[in-house]
Symmetry: C2
């Protein structure tokens, strides 16, 4: 029996496993149309996403206690609505909740379910995402992602790339970091995981941010594996 | 579309979903035979299990910090070996690890996988067990339990029936307690969940502790649902 290079694969999710931009643009466009705003759903998704890292930075820096990503998504949504000509105070709570949960209803990339299903037969697979627990759980049910468990920032009470996000994951899996591989479309995430002792796999997603993407177009370090998609990664790992 | 009485079902696992006694007896018997001990595997399983609640009580009382159940299982195993004529110091570490992980390799009751699969189509389903995260993950892969997520004591850093074990689960699911049902074969577990606001379902498992079981033979309060097994519960819940 061949020896496996790792026991578990944990995945970045937004961009790596699911296409957040198209999903948020879809629901954003419906929302804007209801409010009579002639803006494009992709511009709306991009504006919302631009607040993502700065919002988490407030938690990472210790300026505020940990809050789940749904909370940050809500704050960020309220912050961008005026730029689209919408007064947040006029949006019913139910509609806000529905729109915030657009991030729970994202489509997988075409290779994701097949690749994960193959990997699951040989490895433990789980998300290691900054999404909150319920977000990742809803996403798995919506998109048919066959995770063995839901993991991520909320269990660690720390957002990637803080070391605690990776190290708490290793602790819950009861594995030394070198027996876990992080798979991600983002070089910065992989660099942080490697500093914690994880193995690393780069999954190329050059259209995550749309046709004009400038970052993370290719692997920027000698990651342990570099794959065009998750099916290709499964083949590399004998799954 | 009919309204669902809850959004999520969380399950006690040892005894409710899997048959811990037969599984531990099976691996215990193999272990005893290797060491030339003519004892019965069931007596070994029962002896090991008798230390289960007292060991957790040390954590619940605050006498020691939270440790995962694998750690308590190890301590309890070392404590009972002399009564079976085995010097713990003579058992290789690999063999100890294998035996401790008998609790990760337990068979489901005959109705568990079918019942859970039906419930999963309509509800969020997860374990809410005192087993540690990796134990529950391994068990799910071994027994084919189709959980949406792995939950339980280790995520709350508190053992049932401490309120924090239930309340942290509700927090991670982002649901009010009354939208979650605990399903368990143990009246005490259900009583604690009810005190936290959960709905409750009793699953009868009158042979969990073997043919001479004296406790938890029937529902002892007016639980929201009382079912003969998990398939019956699924039918009651329209799943």
């Amino acid at each position: 029996m061949p020896t496996s290079p790792v026991d578990a694969l944990v995945f970045d999710v937004f961009g790596t496993v699911v296409d957040w931009r198209e999903g948020v643009a879809r629901d954003g466009a419906a929302f804007l149309a209801r409010h009579g705003v002639p803006a494009d759903g992709h511009a709306f998704a991009d504006a919302w996403r631009r607040h993502y890292s700065p919002a988490m930075e407030g938690v990472r820096s210790g300026a505020r206690p940990f809050v789940p990503l749904d909370t940050l998504h809500r704050e960020n949504l309220l912050a961008i609505l005026p730029a689209f000509g919408i007064d947040p105070g006029t949006v019913p709570e139910d509609e806000l909740q529905w729109l915030i949960r657009a991030w729970h209803r994202l489509e997988p990339w075409p290779d994701s379910v097949e690749g994960l299903t193959r990997l699951k037969a040989r490895y433990i697979i789980a998300p290691l995402s900054n999404g909150n627990f319920r977000l990742l759980l809803d996403m798995a049910k919506y998109a048919g992602l066959p995770w063995d468990a839901i993991m991520g920032a909320e269990l660690a009470q720390a957002y990637k790339p803080q070391p605690q996000a990776y190290l708490r994951t290793a602790e819950l899996l009861d594995l030394p970091p070198e027996r876990i591989c992080l798979a991600a479309a983002h070089n910065g995430d992989l660099a942080a995981a490697r500093r914690c002792g994880f193995k690393t796999a780069f999954i190329a997603r050059p259209r995550e941010f749309g046709p004009d993407q400038k970052t993370d177009l290719a692997a920027e370090q000698d990651w342990d594996w570099v794959a065009g998609d998750i099916v290709a990664l499964a083949s590399m790992l004998g799954a």
